[in-house]
């Protein structure tokens, strides 16, 4: 597979968009955090009647929650980032990569033409998608670069 071709032709729908959880806007912060921890997802999309209204991530936890114990019982909508930027599902990957590498966002909700949430694009999913193009060169490496044999020989 030609990665350059794939990045220009595949869209964000072609990578794993499952690295997120959905929560409702009135869920208390501590419950949202517990849900994220239990499912090992660092991103929560905050929904109101089926519509995306905000985003809350591990980054927000480190910046706005971790040493502010008074917010822990508040509804998530009071601390989330409202009206998050989203990506259209027909965005090509190269566009998404360039967009995300210029912005601070690590998690970008992906929506279809009707605004329905299809998932969340993450840095990791893009890295994984790229590496999947080169299993031999990326996955079949020794644990450290020093483990390489100096010559292609063996007994």
């Amino acid at each position: 597979m030609d990665l350059n071709y794939s990045l220009h032709n595949d869209t964000v729908k072609h990578v794993d968009l499952s690295f997120y959880v959905e929560v409702q806007k009135d869920h208390p912060v501590d419950q949202v955090i517990a849900k994220m921890q239990n499912s090992q997802r660092k991103c929560a999309l905050v929904m109101d009647q089926g519509k995306l209204i905000g985003i809350f991530t591990a980054h927000d936890i480190a910046r706005r929650v971790i040493d502010q114990s008074e917010v822990i019982n508040a509804p998530i909508e009071t601390i989330m980032t409202p009206d998050p930027l989203t990506l259209q599902s027909d965005t090509t990957l190269i566009e998404a990569i360039r967009f995300m590498s210029d912005k601070p966002h690590r998690y970008m909700p992906v929506v279809d033409a009707e605004g329905r949430v299809l998932g969340t694009l993450t840095h990791y999913a893009i890295i994984k998608y790229m590496s999947d193009h080169f299993p031999e060169e990326i996955y079949n490496l020794p644990p450290t670069p020093d483990h390489f044999a100096s010559a292609r020989a063996g007994a």
């Binding site: 350059n4 990045l7 501590d30 591990a58 971790i66 040493d67 360039r98 990791y124 994984k128 080169f134």
Partner: protein, 513 residues
Amino acid sequence: MADAIETLTRKDFVSDQEVRWCPGCGDYAILAQMQRVLPEMGIAREEMVFISGIGCSSRFPYYMNTYGLHTIHGRAATVATGLKVANPDLHVWVITGDGDSLSIGGNHLLHVLRRNVNLNIILFNNAIYGLTKGQYSPTSPPGTRTYSSPMGSVEQDFNAISVALAAEATFVARSVDRNTKHMAEILKRATEHRGTSFVEIYQNCNIYNDGAWSFATEANVKDDQTVILEHGQPIIFGKDRDKGIRVNKLAPEVVTLGNGVSESDLLAHDETLDNPAHAYLLSRLTHPDYPVPLGVFRCVERPIYEEQIIAQGRQAVEDRGAGDLNALYHATDTWIVPEGPDAETVQEVHEELPTSNIIPDIEQEDPMAPRTALQQLLYDPISSLDLPVPECVSADTSVADAVETMRSKNLGCLLVVNKRGLLRGIFAQGDLFEKVAGRDIDLTKITIDSLMTKDPTALKTSDPIGHLLHLMSLHGFRHIPIVDPDGRPVGLASFKVMLKFTGGLFSDDISPN
């Protein structure tokens, strides 16, 4: 010559050697059938080779008046393979036992079968180690009491036919020492087959495992406890031939003919099926739950190993000439160890460039060619990335201070170094998320030493970028410290750095290939 072959008799195959098997051994019956069948096969004696490993059965070659090799334990198949490649005109039989070819030689049996060398393997299965005086073997059923399993074997036994089928054998058959007529037919079929033929013969060891196969040999029970496989025929058995095998959702079942069950309901045998599932299913009909099949389970055509090997050799000579082995040996990677105690190093021989083109150099690379985007992504050194300088703190920093530092400088992680500036840990937002968030912890009272990842995986600036992708995509590391040769952090690689690099690497001028 042809006339001479036709007039060979059994006696021509009997050697002058004293036969040293125990009186009453089933091996005698197999020897007798072999000597009976071979004169009918139209093969000259001097074109036959019997090759054996170690065990009672492996004495067989001494007793055949043909060429023979009594070889290494478990390795008869390998010697036979080599012989067939060297001299494909020979007719080769491998004589082996359940110990020789399913214990020590198990590996070699598998590979001769999958290669489909044109030879015949006769496995004398007596389900015991006879030569060594009565220890259980890989075909001894669980519970078999022997000198080496006085309380009963606890091992799952091998089903030799199933093993052979799994090893892609093209001819697989079973017979039994006391059914001499059947054995003779099977030996003939095996001899005629082009490719590896595998024949298991139930053979009685009357000293250490007497009666192991009595269900298949005793006149009053054998018709009900075995079934003779006949190609194209429904599988019917029983003294009155009133029972058969029906398949119900891939499970075989014994049914009695009549009362609405007719022959057309029964499984019909087809030894030529390309898919070995049918033969395998039959191989799982085992005593005492089912009648045990005797006959040819599978007989299919496949290219023959030595024919292909030899053809490749011919083709290579045709394409490149006869070649010079001596030149190849001295072509490259040779060196001279200098004489005398003062010589310090081994001198590589450079003056002799390769004289042979037998091994093509597949790694020809023009060092002056511009590097492609992919080469840059996978192989360029990490130093070619635009890496941010990491924020380094000491391990006794309080978590509260670390959080404040990350917040004020908008950082996703901190590197932790010791007094000498060497990398000792990494402390990231992920650690806060996993270990602190949602818990009632006073962050001023704990240090990052307790939360950080100690001795994290780090790479050097000279390492290839591909290794960053390796660690990121396989292990999910968002941040990877980059250190100098002493271990001091000089940069911090991250998902984001990689995305930025990728975004700039590929032009929008694309053409699919």
